[in-house]
Each structure stands twice: as structure tokens, then as C-alpha cells.
Amino acid sequence: MSEKPVDTTKIRSVKKMRDLMTTYYLEALSAGQNNKQVAWITSGGPVEPLVAMDIIPVYPENHGAMIGSAKMGEELCAKAEEMGYSFDLCSYARADIACSVEKGGPIGGLPRPDMLICCNNICGTVLKWYEIQARFYNVPLFILDTPICHTGYTPDIAAYVRAQVDEYIVFLENVTQRKLDHDKMTQVGKLSFEGQRLWQKVLNTTAHKPSPMSAFDAFFFLALIVTLRGTPIAVDFYKELIAEMEQRIKDGISSIPHEKYRLLWDNLPVWHRLKWLSARFSGHNACLVADTYTSAWCGAIQYIDEDNFLDSIAQAYTRIYLNIGVDQMADQVLDMIRFYDVNGLVMHSNRSCKPYSFGQMDIMKTVREKTGLPVLMIEADMVDPRSFSQAQAETRIDTFMEIIKQREA
């Protein structure tokens, strides 16, 4: 008797998401013709005031992810090295800097910025990276400095960051020569809150066994909460995506054909090897059901007060996953291990992302001690394929899966 074939129908929302992203980039690329201003902003930066002031936000990091997925990272990173930048510099920064000069990459480079918004809650590299771009494009740069909350959010940090939120608004008003419409700001704040709430709900659907989508899908669907946070587009899309996921659960549609093992991913994706990694794991009947990365765009939602948005974002943007102590990061990883009920943890030691990769050994140790679960460390880079060895990754993944199979047998 043959087994009933497992339904792994593709996710329908993928097409809609692609269309939305295409429209977003077309609008951004034609901003100049439509008398709209463009701000480049770091992925963890407070985008809502930009949306409220009708400035188009553009994300070099999202662009970096596109460059990585399009396998154009090596060429652009090498170009930046020819320009004198170190191989040790983050590959998003290298690709972006080279792209500005070359107008290369999958969309021929990002639209020229009218201003740059840099928030260092994700790393310290962005400071120098944005300073370089501010000089290159000769545009004003605003830096929002969010001290790392190693143990907690102190009153000093709160006052320091809150004051900068006001400075941020003044900066935008000066550059645009327009005043912020506070009613609109409130409205955008509510949409941002709602978008983040819905995004968390999308991610929560993968707690179901078998999982209706994987972390690889989440890496893709993430782009909207990053780029269009604070707009009704993100809210509407995620409502549809949740409905589709709930329907998939009802219909018994799973992400991979035979989900036997569930895994948690840590760090950014290896953008240039998504398909390969997904196939390698699913060949072992393992589904990466969740990750610490995509939840970063809704992980600080408990600090947001949607009725008092500007006051609350100081805290919400300061206490994101990459800006807290390693102990707190480990606690979040442990929570996810329990919530998604996984059989192991896969950590990507990302040569580019130092704040994400630093502390992984400690988190690994904590996870082992508290859960006894196997933990795998893969060395790679999110964009630059020269920092990745496929044969070595293969052996490590296969060994890790052999250990999990032995344990679960």
C-alpha cells in the first residue's frame, strides 16, 4: 500500500508579496519624478515618522538581502575591496557601497537618497557605513544612538533616547521644510503596531505540526514588515497571509513533505544558499520552523503604546534582540525552543554580522545545559559566498541530523 502523498502546495501569497515589493521599489526608484523624497534607513530604525511625513523609506539592508539572493554578492563585495574596504567589513555594507558607485545589483542600485537615517540598535558598523554614504551623496545624516541594554532599560537610557526621538522629528522637518502632522503620526503608529502584531501571528502559525511554512518562507515574507511597516499595505497583506496559513493548517498542507524533525535557526539567513539549505534539511525530513531573525521586527512590541507612539518607540527600538544582553538573548531562544517545540538549534555564525554572532557560543552552552538539545554551528556569510564552504557545511548538517535521529530514535 502506498503512502498518501503529502500536500506541500506552494504558498499562494508569494506572488502577491512579489508584486507588492515590485511596486514598492518602482515607487522608490521613480520618487524623483514624483517630487517625493527618499530616506535610506537602517533595518532596525524607526521608520514610522518617515511614513507619516510621506518620505519613501529605502533599506540598504533589504537591498543587501536581494543582492545575496540574486547571487551578486561576491562581485559587489570584491568591488568594494578593490575600492579599499576590508574583507572583514560587513557584506551588506560592502555590497551597498559598491552598488552606489557601480549602480549594479538586481535593480541597478537604490534610488539616490535625500537623507540618511541611521539607528545603531542593530550594530556599530552602520555608523561608519552611513557616514560614508552621507559623504558620497552629500546629504544630511541623522544618527539615533541607542545604548545597549545589557541588563535592562535604565531611566538614563530612556531619557537619552527619548530626547533623540524629538531631535529626529526636528531633523525631518528641517530637511523636508514641512511640519509633522501628529494625527497622521498617530495613525501610522497604530498601523505599525497592528502590522507587528500580525507579523507575530504569522510566525506563530509554525508552532503547528506539521508547520504550514518554514523559516525560509518567513525570510521572504519579512520584507514587508521591514519596508512597509506603518502602512495599511503590510497590515492587509499579513491578514491575508494568516488566513492562508490557517487554511493550510486546516487542509493539512505542510511546508516540507515529511516533517519529522523541527529546528530553530539563529542569525541572518545565508541569502545565497537558501534553496540549498532548505533542500539539505528537508532531505533529512527536517523543517526549520522558526528563527530568531524574523521575529526581531515584532519582538519589542510589548514596549509599544499605540496611543502614545512617539513616547514609546524610544524603548521599543532600544530593546530589540540585537541590543540586549546575551543572557536575555538566550532566554528568548529558550522561549522559542519551547514554543515551537523543536528538536535542535542551528546557529549561523555569520562572518558579517558581529553583534549577532558574538555571544553565540554562550547561547549554545545555555541551550545545551537547559534543554540538552543538539546545537549546530555553521560558518558562513549572509551575502559573500567566499566565506562559505559547502562540503564542510554538508558534513556538519548531515552529522547534526544523524545525532538528532539517534536521539529521537
Partner: protein, 256 residues
């Protein structure tokens, strides 16, 4: 039931035959360019030496970097599980394994059943591998299998500070130019490679008794340098190079 394990490494191909708790025989040949041919040759020669034919074998497991090329194997397993199983077969007390092969080195933690609890491998770098020693042996015009013996005669081991094999080679060449004693340079090389491997062992908090496996275990100088770094004695069996193949055969017996 006779089972076979075939380990296709980057430099040598190994095969082992076991029957229950008995090791019937092992063989090591150079891998060369063609992984499958190496697998066929090492397997068939070993069978012949033992007066057996392929039909006598119940199950074959292949391992090593060329594991997927061995199309006649019933199953493939990674070398980490195989080295663990092989070490356990040779000595059930073993809790830690350090395998230094041609192009990678690994530290493995075992439970009392010989199952792998944790492991660490070298990253995209040849330092601390057999290849590192090979490159250095060539630069110093010493036969690879003489390295251990020569290095043990050092009176004042040189200090190699570069981690990278290519840079370390330049460093060694400048030492040769300065006419440092060959024995001292070799001892320095062993210590540099051992430091890299000890680092992997520390990552997984290795515990004894520790067995050293892989081709490099035959290098007494490297083993001594490693013992010093780890502050632990290393158990080295005469089958150190074939441990992966033996483990593959053990796992074949468990599956078949």
C-alpha cells in the same frame, strides 16, 4: 554477519570488515582523483585479502568526504559518527575523540554507548590538519612520516604565530632563511597545529579518556604536542587511520 565500512578521505581511502565483535581486516590506499574507483579498489582488495567476495557482505556503509561517490554502499554516514563508533568499538571507555585527517580536524564527545553528544570541526581553513603538516614537510624537505621523529629532537621549539597555512609557510621559509634548526621549526609547526586542534577540543569541553584518530595520529610529534596542550594523555590505537572505516562497518552492522 560480515559488514563493511569504506572511508574515502581527501588523501587516503580506507576499508574495514567486521564480523560481530571481530575486526577481520583493514586496508589503506591513496585516494587519487577518482573517489568511486578508490572505493572499489580498496573494498575489492580487502575482500580478496580475506578470501571473501561482495556477496559475503551483508551491509556496506560509506563515509568521509567521498562518501556519496561510493554508489555500491547501502548507506552513507558522516565521518563524525563513524569515528565515534569506531573509537567505541576499539575501546568502549573512550569519551573523547580527536580526529585529525587530511583536510579537516574534529573533536567529538561520546556517551557511554559510543553515540556522539557534541562535535566541533575546523572552519574553512587548513591550519591544524594533515594538509598543514604536508605543506610544511615539503617546505622543510622532510618526509611526512619522519616529521614526528625529527620534531621530537628539538631543543628550542620555534614559535609559529600565523594561523593561516599559507602565511605559516612564509613564516617557516623565513625561519629556514634565518637557519633555525629544522628540528625546532618542526616542533614549532606541531605545536601550532596542536593549538588549533586543542581549541576545537576546548569548544566541546572534551573529557577523557581521549582517543586520537586519523592519519595524523601516526605523527608522534603532533600527538605529543597535543597531549601537552590538552593536558590529557591520548590513546592511539594501531588502527588510528582506519577508525572511521571501522566505525562505518560497526554502524553498518547496527543498521543491516
Amino acid at each position: 554477519m560480515i559488514c563493511a565500512g569504506i572511508d574515502i578521505g581527501s588523501i587516503t581511502a580506507k576499508a574495514a570488515l567486521i564480523n560481530g565483535k571481530d575486526l577481520l581486516g583493514t586496508l589503506v590506499i591513496p585516494t587519487g582523483y577518482h573517489h568511486l574507483n578508490a572505493g572499489i579498489r580498496v573494498f575489492d582488495t580487502l575482500l580478496q585479502q580475506n578470501g571473501l567476495s561482495r556477496t559475503d557482505i551483508s551491509f556496506v556503509v560509506s563515509t568521509g568526504y567521498g562518501r556519496a561517490s561510493v554508489d555500491f554502499a547501502d548507506k552513507t554516514m558522516t565521518e563524525i559518527l563513524c569515528h565515534g563508533a569506531g573509537a567505541h568499538f576499539l575501546n568502549p571507555d573512550i569519551r573523547g575523540v580527536i580526529d585529525v585527517g587530511g583536510q579537516d580536524s574534529k573533536a567529538i564527545l561520546l556517551d557511554d554507548q559510543g553515540r556522539v553528544e557534541n562535535f566541533a570541526m575546523n572552519d574553512k581553513c587548513a591550519a591544524g590538519t594533515g594538509r598543514f603538516l604536508e605543506v610544511m614537510a615539503r617546505a622543510l624537505e622532510v618526509a611526512l612520516d619522519q616529521m614526528g621523529e625529527v620534531g621530537q629532537k628539538a631543543d628550542n621549539p620555534s614559535k609559529i604565530s600565523s594561523i593561516c597555512t599559507v602565511f605559516a609557510e612564509s613564516e617557516v621559509i623565513s625561519m629556514i632563511a634565518r637557519q633555525e634548526k629544522r628540528e625546532n621549526i618542526i616542533a614549532g609547526i606541531h605545536d601550532a597545529a596542536a593549538a588549533r586542534v586543542a581549541n576545537l577540543a576546548a569548544k566541546i569541553r572534551i573529557r577523557g579518556p581521549v582517543m586520537m584518530t586519523g592519519g595524523v595520529a601516526k605523527n608522534s610529534g603532533m600527538a605529543a604536542a597535543l597531549e601537552k596542550r590538552l593536558k590529557l594523555p591520548l590513546i592511539i590505537e594501531s588502527f588510528s587511520q582506519e577508525t572511521g572505516a571501522i566505525g562505518a562497518a560497526v554502524l553498518a552492522a547496527g543498521t543491516g
